[in-house]
Assembly symmetry: D2
Homo-oligomer: 363 residues x 4
């Protein structure tokens, strides 16, 4: 059941890095929702590689074809199936990987799990390429959420030692999120963007790679989204975020930092906004979720990505065929840092999880 | 569907802080497994309050009664239902909370979600008390895992500013885990335990509270446990860990730290152990999971807990009845730090998730 | 995952015939619903044995105790857990069954499936006794459905050769359903009831048993309940009805009879009711479901029960211990016909399935 | 969640009658299974229309393209996605149906459920055309089951008044099932086939349609397949069988007939086969399932299909636009009897359900 996510809005992702196509089935969307496919394609293009110096030169082109589920431009109650052809695959690049599992990749674990039958080409079902259909599904969910007043955005909080400033968690505006999503290299502080790109460029030159942290936020969620216990906001969001390859940590609100605060520092006091009668908290250490349920404050999440495991430097590994230690130089196309391309993936994952919970909560 | 977890081994938790009883139904356990109920009770006792100076004086006495699913001391294919009576409830303590939501608690979000019908007494369904049945379910799963050579243990990595040393992720032994689980205040460095207890004691005296981080590990997992994408180890573990109240962050292996490493530093080289022919990695930055699937290396998880939101200090909040700002002093029994009691909860959550994935993977 | 049913409203049934208790957890009910526990108990009492000459003399007394999920008499968002103690168990009666599987029972299949570890006493988890918590869950769901204008009722359509008349599927009224539910032996034609009881009595005297068919109906369902394909009304209803022990057939509307009609006979023409503008069909061969979705016409279901497999007559079977053929006389308490007691079970199953789909459909 | 079926082996069907394509994602198949796509295509061709006088002249040509999940001809652990293009769609034929719902179809219920946004062309997501991907998924599952010694077959038990003889439920052989599956018009008694085709031809000439019953069987199932209660064989099979359009009744073994037998007639005595030590039953009224779990005897299922609702005769219906009664002549291509084409659909549904339960049961 590994490739399925969601209760009410349910996605099922298929494909391998080098199969004929990859794609996603999205079931349970409300009927009658207009879906702007060009806008969804633009969202997907944000994760496309080959756009600039700091990402892999493979040009995927990722043109989505929706083969079902829309009628006269709107959801019609039937599942959407979206396909992306795998056109630019160079399977030969990966032949050695059947024998020499790449450190930091799923080559070894998949080989063992599937007893040698996995599609090892380009990481198969474990490839970051599978985030393309995730992004498309997220783009669809996002359009529906936006119509309900919910906006999602994300920026690169850090790349290796380069740090951006954080969102002000108490007061994130829709404009701010829209603006940051339009940036080619989304940081709050533009000066930092340049430094981060230098870090990535330097890693590339050294045949190495770097990781980073993405900070994302959702605003406009009504109070009451999220179910208790195992379907709380944090549970649902973390389970989809950790499905993005290379994610090693997820935190909400103050996150790990909360472990070093006093209760009197970390608690967020409620108050009434005089004009509107709305209830807010003065601070937002809780990050928009109390008991797994949305509080009406901005939902703030940070997601840590490890450095791309594919590096050109020579590495130690094993030869499965020969049953002895070996060395490996990973050839082929790869990103020295996948964090910039992961920004829309994080937003997409959030959109899918939040629409599922939103629909689950319908009264 | 909020109170259900698991595909193959499925738990369903019920109860509120002040209902007649709380408990859990565990379905899908393999038949014929001997369950030592006294041992399970001892595991559960590790989370009991009232044991010492640094926890709430409420004595819960949590005696588990298994009402179904065992026959002649073994699992029989039918679901186990385990009940814990709520004997020591003082509902009056909580009456003001219907009006004045406590900062940092789910009082407000639950009130909104359930339109005023939630059982507000003691936090209702959102109470930390619901981790008692979680612990019992975990204790059952743990006994089955142990029979398959898998051991789980955890220690307090930090309380506020007090820091323990970390597990050596490359080489965690079963003895080490057993030993640490037997400590009343589980830290690797015993000197740190004392300091941490002082920190907690000081917080109590000041009417305040502190949080911390728990580091846990599972060893003995065969290679290949975990499903791709949404049912990977990290997804399944994080979704159950975030269901424990007060958890705000979860990371695996190097976690957030990986975002600051180079690929050449973070990648873990494979090698053969000459004597056994087993495949291991020299380092364990990946924390036992590659592509969401167990690598055979120790699985290492860190879980961040916020400081207990219940503090005696006066706080600002709102009066829902009067529709205006108000102030609140939380009375009643509460822990200045729930981290020590959360240690078995983390282990239990891991045991449930890992047994579910283990059974899912049966060949 | 066998003992769980439902997506949105989810039940988890536990217990064996001779465990300390049996019960059910009901998750996902809307909050704020008043539940009349005495009324639910009365519903449950309709399936109780020992009420008259034609059922087993075992007096179960099935007193339900709700231990969680209600607050001030209403659902509070937390799962309801209801327990029924197993007080009147005579385990000795069943000792021989560990060796000699009863024809028509699950003794043999359970023995094989669970490798000898199943709780064989009284049929264990496969006992008809487990329909008591099903009935309670149904009684709860029914109260919620009634508040939405939906009524469910059932009658005994046949016992062996004794046949009642059928519902008029075009026009079933709430009064009719209420009336039939109040009968101790629910048939439309009261004269038939007497004949059926004679058939049962005769079977008892001969140490034999008889089966029958229950016809049930739901009215007041709005148009649009049921999801396409695998979650259609027929799929969801049949999967829960077949979970009632002894059910061997389920049909909707014209059912098997439709296979012998022409399309022009079986199709139901739509028309407008002049006064209200409502859309109805002139006939109701479709039985209230088109494409798995409610049409607004009465939902009509027939469920076939085999004769009780427990009979006093000597039967051929095998001795598992001795590995050879053997003969068996089933002793202990048993019904010569379970159909009368199964009537509330069928209604309960329908109520659970329909509330689940109703909540799933919320707009 | 309507278009998803299965726990362990999970299918997700997508497409509408006139969308660009229809298809299915199959997740959870064991890795390393060889899939003969030509054989699967031949299976699918058995449901194709336009083959002879008694079915619709629309030639669908249903060529399946597998776009993912296979590597070197074998399952590789990733989900299979199979697509079938909708090439021969004449959308104009259906334009009037947006206004005039066809009696016996889902036009009306879908219109109401999706508030007018459904894809009404050709029945949209409710079209019998969606059984093509179901058949393909079944063909894949069947190949895996066959490798485990399990065979599935089906024949037309009745068309309107034409009746075939039944399987001998005690002794169905693999050869018998293979043979019947190879017949263009599968009946046990070949003389009956001719009569049935005359009945269909006559219905066509009269602008009418007929229904029928399909009897199917699975042999070679080991004892112990099926989970208790809601995931028993009958529950799982009926829920997928009722997802096939036009199915109105499902029964197992003696089915509705069991309601007229005495317990002493209906119970099946166990005995040992002397030579092999296997345990069998002398008769097979139970139809291969006791307590929802396979007994090792042939699994026998009968599925009732209503007559095709699309008939050329003029019918009464309503005009939704004009809000008044109207009359309708259904034009376009349609079968006077879908039963012959439904035979592989029933087999496919059984294969999917049985593989799911088989995998669920892995020890």
């Amino acid at each position: 059941m590994s490739s399925n996510y969601g209760h009410k809005v349910k996605i099922s992702i298929f494909g391998q890095s080098h199969s004929d196509a990859i794609g996603v089935v999205i079931d349970g969307l409300p009927a009658g929702e207009e879906i702007d496919l060009e806008k969804a394609q633009r969202f997907l293009d944000r994760r496309a590689p080959g756009k600039n110096a700091y990402s892999t030169p493979r040009k995927e082109g990722d043109q989505v074809q929706v083969v079902s589920g829309l009628f006269q431009g709107r959801t019609c109650g039937a599942p959407i199936c979206a396909m992306i052809e795998n056109t630019n695959t160079k399977s030969k690049d990966y032949d050695q990987l059947k024998d020499l599992p790449r450190p930091g990749h799923a080559d070894f674990t998949a080989e063992m799990k599937y007893q040698g039958f996995q599609d090892h080409r380009g990481g198969g079902h474990f490839s970051g390429r599978l985030t393309a259909p995730l992004c498309f599904a997220g783009a669809v969910c996002l359009q529906i959420l936006e119509r309900r007043g919910i906006a999602i955005g994300a920026h690169i909080l850090s790349i290796h030692e380069g740090k951006d400033e954080s969102f002000n968690p108490v007061d994130i505006t829709k404009d701010e999120l829209v603006q940051i999503n339009e940036k080619a290299f989304p940081t709050i502080d533009d000066g930092v963007a340049e430094k981060m790109q230098e870090i990535i460029q330097k890693a590339r030159e050294q045949g190495d790679s770097v990781g980073g942290v993405i900070e994302s936020a959702a605003i406009g969620l009504p109070v009451g989204i999220g179910e208790p216990m195992f379907d709380g906001l944090e549970s649902k969001l973390s389970s989809i975020l950790f499905a993005i390859p290379a994610v090693k940590g997820v935190e909400f609100g103050e996150g790990f930092g909360a472990a070093e605060l006093l209760g009197s520092e970390n608690n967020d006091s409620f108050y009434y906004i005089d004009e509107t009668g709305e209830i807010k908290t003065k601070t937002n250490h809780h990050g928009g979720s109390l008991g797994g349920i949305s509080s009406g404050m901005p939902l703030v999440v940070r997601t840590a990505f490890k450095p791309t495991p594919s590096i050109s430097k020579e590495q130690s590994t094993i030869s499965l065929k020969e049953g002895k230690d070996a060395s490996l130089k990973v050839v082929g196309r790869h990103d020295p840092c996948i964090v910039p391309r992961a920004v829309p993936c994080v937003e997409a994952a959030m959109a899918i999880a939040l629409l599922d919970l939103y629909e689950e909560n319908r009264k």
